[in-house]
Amino acid sequence: MNRMLRSVARWAGVWTGQASFNETATALMRNEICPIFEGRAVSMDFEVYEPAGMQLVYGVRTVLAPDLDGSLKTLSFSTRFGLVQLEQTPDDEDVLALTGVTDEGVKLTVTMLPQDRDHMQLSAIWRPVGAGAASEEVQGVNGLLRRVTIWKPGAPMPDVARR
């Protein structure tokens, strides 16, 4: 199994936390990570809510899996961008960094940086292809997530609200 995929599988569970959205608004983030395909892939359900009304701002369903050459890629549906495929890009050993370009020419970069066993920094940044990193067109969400539920095989995921 791909070494990074093995690391990501260890992040299984439900992660929640507060985030900044487009550097100004406050948002709530939730990321649910589950091993699938007998451990050969990982699913991630990522959602961002505005905290006042708990309206979904942005949601993604993703499967992270090895391509035939062993490289990690994602298969995703995003409420903002539609169907998206991202590829792993080089980063520090324990960091999952993914990038890709949407059909509409937007470069999307997702970074998941574990702080310790139960904390993770997650950022998703997007900008038009060609726009610089300091461009006003850069948008995204960034925040610190805490693991609130550890995934257990064979058992339904407990509802976080009931804990």
Partner: protein
């Protein structure tokens, strides 16, 4: 409120199971599970083929159906035996969904699906992308509905 995608495919949702005859000649038990995500903005498709004797999974797949700006279906798929691909809808009869797209290694995949009552039929083929004719056999699947989609199950 339904979405344009669900208006067309709501009767496809649920779990389907039946025999698959692979192009290579062997048979297996195929299962498809179609679930709406984000209120029907997309449909998640999970597939697994089991060996009939051992019941072990021999292929796994995952994908999302969505609509592009012109209203045609786009299918983003992953299969552990062919990798990642994006298929686009090609013209066919109204009740039939036909998709085609490139695979790694200069191959092309085409898939044709149809649901009639409680029967889901699917045929697919992989062929060399640089030839206009390729007589390789197709994989055929005929599945019966074993569970309807129930909201809140996903």
């Amino acid at each position: 409120m339904t979405t344009p995608l669900l208006s067309r495919f709501a009767h496809w949702l649920g779990t389907w199971r039946g025999r698959v005859d692979f192009a290579e000649g062997h048979q297996a038990l195929m299962q498809f599970t179609l679930t709406p995500v984000f209120g029907g903005q997309a449909i998640q498709v999970e597939t697994v083929a089991f060996d009939i004797e051992s019941s072990r999974s021999i292929t796994r797949g995952w994908g999302y159906f969505s609509l592009d700006r012109s209203g045609r279906v786009v299918n983003n798929i992953y299969g552990n035996y062919f990798g990642f691909a994006i298929l686009h809808e090609t013209p066919d009869d109204p009740e039939v969904l036909s998709l085609q797209g490139p695979l790694p290694g200069n191959e092309v995949m085409d898939v044709t699906m149809n649901v009639l009552g409680d029967e889901f039929t699917l045929s697919s083929r992989r062929w060399e992308g640089y030839t206009s004719h390729d007589d390789r056999p197709r994989t055929y699947t005929r599945m019966k509905r074993v569970a309807h989609y129930v909201e809140g199950d996903s």
